[in-house]
């Protein structure tokens, strides 16, 4: 396996890190003294330090790719995957029907801890997923983000786009152990602590206008400059649909707290992050592709596995609006993502 030659998985003991911390990194980087305590910069910015027993992985960068000892054809494909991940708008009208790139939510090109670094999926899948109640592999996980977060329909399994994207994910996981037994440092969008006061719409609106509207606009529409992507839309037709992971209020709070305002992570109070998340989650966006034609029925069906953490189907207090009670699917119109609601492995028995 050529891929293994330059990688290194360190189980550091007795150095500046807590004992038992498993650190995986690119060997070329391991000589760098900053790698002795990976993510020190994040700790200085207020992120939690890696804890004992956690898997700490530093994904390789695109510069590392140039130096890597892998087949040039593979490099090309990984580069294409990177390009698709950071400029997913090139699939606009085909697979993407909103104003986002994958990197709009997975900051730092999908490498950043506390911004749902995507390599984690490459080492933990295939696994059972509560959202669709069956075992998913990496391609199906990526397809999920197309159907919901990108309000689109995924490229076909095995297609050039899908292969390139999964190659990029897997490349980022280089050196990390498969099916790790430890929890992963910085995985997902961990929510801030429960706020003192329950999240409030009016407070959230004020905090949004103060901290976010300068880029995302007061109406949440984001901003394209001369037709080119700059600031994505946190709600409205240009945003993710009601089925996307970030509509869960706790996930939104976690995203915001750890990543926004851009360049100043963890600068908001826990209360502000929850208030803004609540305000943002109380706005309209394209319909959930699993919509049955009735918001209450959809909520009943997908509440237990998903919408119990979102405000979908809830009555908005200040104006009585029922969130998600519409048949607006955004720019994609009546295109139905082919992967949604597709059962699998139905013939397998329990033993």
């Amino acid at each position: 396996m050529i891929m293994h030659k330059k990688r290194l998985v360190l189980a550091l003991t007795g150095c500046s890190l807590a004992t038992g911390l498993a650190v995986s990194a690119f060997a070329d980087n391991a000589a760098d003294p900053s790698n002795e305590a990976p993510y020190q910069q994040l700790v200085e910015l207020g992120f939690p330090a890696p804890q004992e027993g956690e898997l700490v992985h530093v994904p390789p960068t695109m510069a590392d790719l140039e130096d890597a000892d892998i087949h040039p054809e593979l490099k090309k494909v990984i580069r294409y995957g990177y390009d698709l991940f950071t400029n997913t708008q090139q699939l606009r009208g085909e697979n993407v029907f909103n104003d986002m790139n994958c990197s709009s939510c997975h900051l730092g090109e999908g490498r950043q801890p506390f911004s749902a670094p995507v390599w984690a999926a490459a080492v933990t899948l295939p696994d059972f997923r509560g959202k669709n109640q069956h075992v998913n592999n990496l391609e199906e996980r990526i397809a999920g983000c197309f159907a919901y977060s990108m309000n689109g329909t995924p490229p076909a399994y095995g297609s050039d786009e899908m292969l390139a994207l999964s190659a990029y994910h897997q490349w980022l996981a280089t050196g990390a152990p498969m099916y790790p037994s430890q929890p992963i440092y910085g995985r997902g969008f961990p929510a801030p602590d429960e706020p003192d006061e329950s999240p409030d719409y009016a407070r959230g609106e004020a905090a949004y206008q103060e901290n976010c509207a300068i880029c995302h606009q007061d109406n949440g529409a984001g901003h394209y400059e001369n037709g080119e992507y700059v600031f994505p839309a946190p709600w409205g037709d240009g945003s993710n649909n009601w089925g996307a992971g970030i509509v869960r209020v706790d996930t939104a709070a976690g995203f915001i707290y750890n990543n926004m305002p851009l360049g100043q992570p963890r600068s908001l109070s826990d209360q502000d992050a929850w208030d803004i998340a609540y305000y943002m989650s109380s706005q309209e966006r394209p319909q959930d592709p699993r919509y049955t034609g009735d918001v209450a029925e959809t909520l009943e069906r997908f509440g237990p596995t998903f919408h119990k953490r979102s405000l979908y189907g809830q009555v908005r207090e200040h104006d009585g609006h029922v969130l998600g009670d519409h048949a607006n699917f955004g720019e994609k119109g009546d295109i139905e993502p082919w992967n949604v609601g597709m059962p699998r492995f139905e013939n397998l028995t329990d033993e």
Binding site: E109, R111, N211, N219, V230, Q264
Partner: protein, 231 residues
């Protein structure tokens, strides 16, 4: 595709909430008149030049290019100088000479001038330029330096009135400003958006990105777009 209008209302909201109350005032004042602006700008040409190009002054205090900058951005800066939110001994007396009407007029005048090429940064080698390009286009997330492009827009040509164009700006000026933010000499940016980034940059990073943006010549490009529009 998908061309959207930047909502003025939003910016006013945002701006007034972050305490730049003058912005709201000027926006409702009379709109700028470039011809009147030309008269009011007579004293500016000594430094910013007749064509608004400014000048790169290696080792000294460079005069920024004003030609083609967003008018509302210029208005904000002039008020910031006048009201002491942006400190600069050279520039302050000239900002003080202008009344509110003259400020919108000179802003209109300079914003309508064609962009001129950036100067300086030629002393930088390939490796440093590549570092500059990386910071500009992709950032360095290990140091939490968000790409400049994510705020200053594709190509660094600016986004609305809040995020000025920095491509084709002089290397000396870009570098001076980034150092000024690092030393808390400049802190008139909304929400500390620029300061937070600048403070994470090394001297070498600053040199690299300044040279790279100075070398991104958007002057010709803008010219041809205008010609197309005129036809």
């Amino acid at each position: 595709m998908n061309k959207k209008q930047w909502s003025k209302f939003n910016l006013l909201m945002g701006a007034s909430l972050i305490g730049v109350s003058t912005l709201a005032g000027t926006a409702f004042a009379e709109t700028g008149d470039a011809e009147r602006g030309q008269a009011a700008a007579a004293t500016c040409t000594a430094c910013h030049q007749a064509n608004g190009s400014g000048m790169n002054i290696p080792g000294g205090e460079s005069w920024p290019r004003l030609a083609g900058l967003n008018a509302d951005y210029i208005v904000k800066q002039l008020h910031d100088f006048k009201e002491g939110r942006r400190q600069n001994a050279t520039m302050m007396p000239f900002a003080n000479m202008l009344n509110d009407q003259q400020i919108v007029d000179v802003a209109a005048y300079y914003s309508e001038m064609p962009i001129t090429p950036g100067q300086g940064g030629d002393d930088v080698d390939e490796a440093l330029l590549a570092r500059g390009e990386q910071l500009a286009e992709r950032g360095d997330w290990d140091a939490y330096i968000v790409s400049c492009k994510s705020c200053h827009g594709p190509g660094g040509t600016g986004v609305g009135e809040t995020f000025p164009g920095i491509a084709s700006q002089h290397a000396g000026y870009i570098s001076n400003q980034l150092h000024a933010w690092q030393n808390d000499q400049r802190s008139n940016d909304p929400q500390n958006l620029m300061g937070a980034i600048a403070k994470r940059m090394s001297d070498e990073d600053i040199q690299a990105v300044s040279a790279w943006y100075a070398g991104q010549d958007v002057s010709a490009q803008t010219g041809s777009e205008e010609e197309e529009a005129a036809q």
